[in-house]
């Protein structure tokens, strides 16, 4: 585990080893978060620009948020800036429409469980995350989520951003953000449930 306080301290001193560590820790997250916003072709540019801005502004980072959250905020700004430069605002017109419950078919007409969740072998996040294959499976399924659910899950769960700032970033109401988060979690739960039942992705 990398001690974040120590890492930030070294970043402030301009330590390039620390920067390398931070890049290895967070670059893939920044790219993944930017993909639904700007497309796969430009996501890496957004992440690179984020490092540039972050490194220049590291002295302003107060350490109240997690480093990843702070980087996520910069990346969102960069994604918006890139879209503006290209002459179009984020075209997220069809975002935020509820796609409905992904587990609707697991209930009977009376609303009771037809196919209830099964017992899992792991019952803590740490235990689940010891499964190397599961990491790969989670990444794969995250990228398969609809763009809006993917964005909200990335910003909220992985990035630690607040509902209000996510709502502003995506020009949606907080209520929409909550629904998208729930749908995304439900889909990821179904994925984990399958993994626990079958043992493969």
């Amino acid at each position: 585990m990398v001690d974040e306080q120590e890492l930030v301290k070294r970043l402030r001193q301009g330590d390039s080893n620390a920067l390398e560590t931070a890049i290895k820790l967070h670059h893939a997250f920044l790219v993944a978060m930017a993909i639904p916003l700007v497309g796969a072709d430009s996501a890496d540019d957004v992440a690179q620009e984020t490092w540039l801005k972050a490194f220049a502004a590291i002295s302003k980072f107060e350490g109240r948020a997690k480093l990843r959250t702070w980087l996520a905020r910069i990346a969102i700004n960069e994604a918006h800036a890139l879209r503006r430069k290209r002459g179009r605002e984020l075209s997220l017109d069809d975002w935020g429409i509820d796609s409905g419950s992904p587990i609707g078919s697991r209930f009977n007409q009376q609303g009771g469980w037809n196919a209830p969740p099964s017992q899992w072998h792991h019952d803590t996040p740490e235990a689940l995350l010891t499964e190397a294959e599961l990491h790969e499976c989670i990444r794969k399924h995250l990228h398969q989520l609809p763009g809006d659910q993917q964005s909200v899950l990335m910003m909220r769960e992985l990035g630690g951003l607040g509902f209000d700032e996510i709502a502003r970033a995506l020009s949606l109401a907080e209520g929409n953000i909550r629904v998208l988060l729930h749908r995304g979690r439900q889909r990821m739960h179904a994925m984990l449930n399958h993994f626990e039942e079958v043992g493969t992705c």
Binding site: L19, I23, A28, L52, S101, F107, W113, P116, P117, R178
Partner: protein, 75 residues
């Protein structure tokens, strides 16, 4: 009475603590008599926690290329 389907729809509101008081009571009552929903909500919370703790680090990132770009301002 909440149905199990309704419970599954409330899942994230439950784990994020966003429920109104009256709904909270109905949820508690349902959970007390329905182990299936209790399990679903517990697993949904676990799912959220797994995502929150997912490292998503990547040792194969070409950090040197990024560092080089940071050092050359002629972009």
């Amino acid at each position: 009475m909440l149905t199990c389907r309704e419970m599954s729809e409330l899942g994230s509101e439950i784990i994020d603590g966003h429920l109104r008081f009256s709904t909270r009571l109905a949820v508690l009552m349902h959970q007390r008599m329905c182990p299936r929903c209790k399990l679903y909500i517990k697993q949904l919370k676990l799912t959220a926690e797994v995502l929150q703790q997912l490292p998503l680090g990547d040792e194969s990132v070409d950090s040197q290329a990024i560092l080089d770009r940071l050092r050359t301002p002629d972009r």
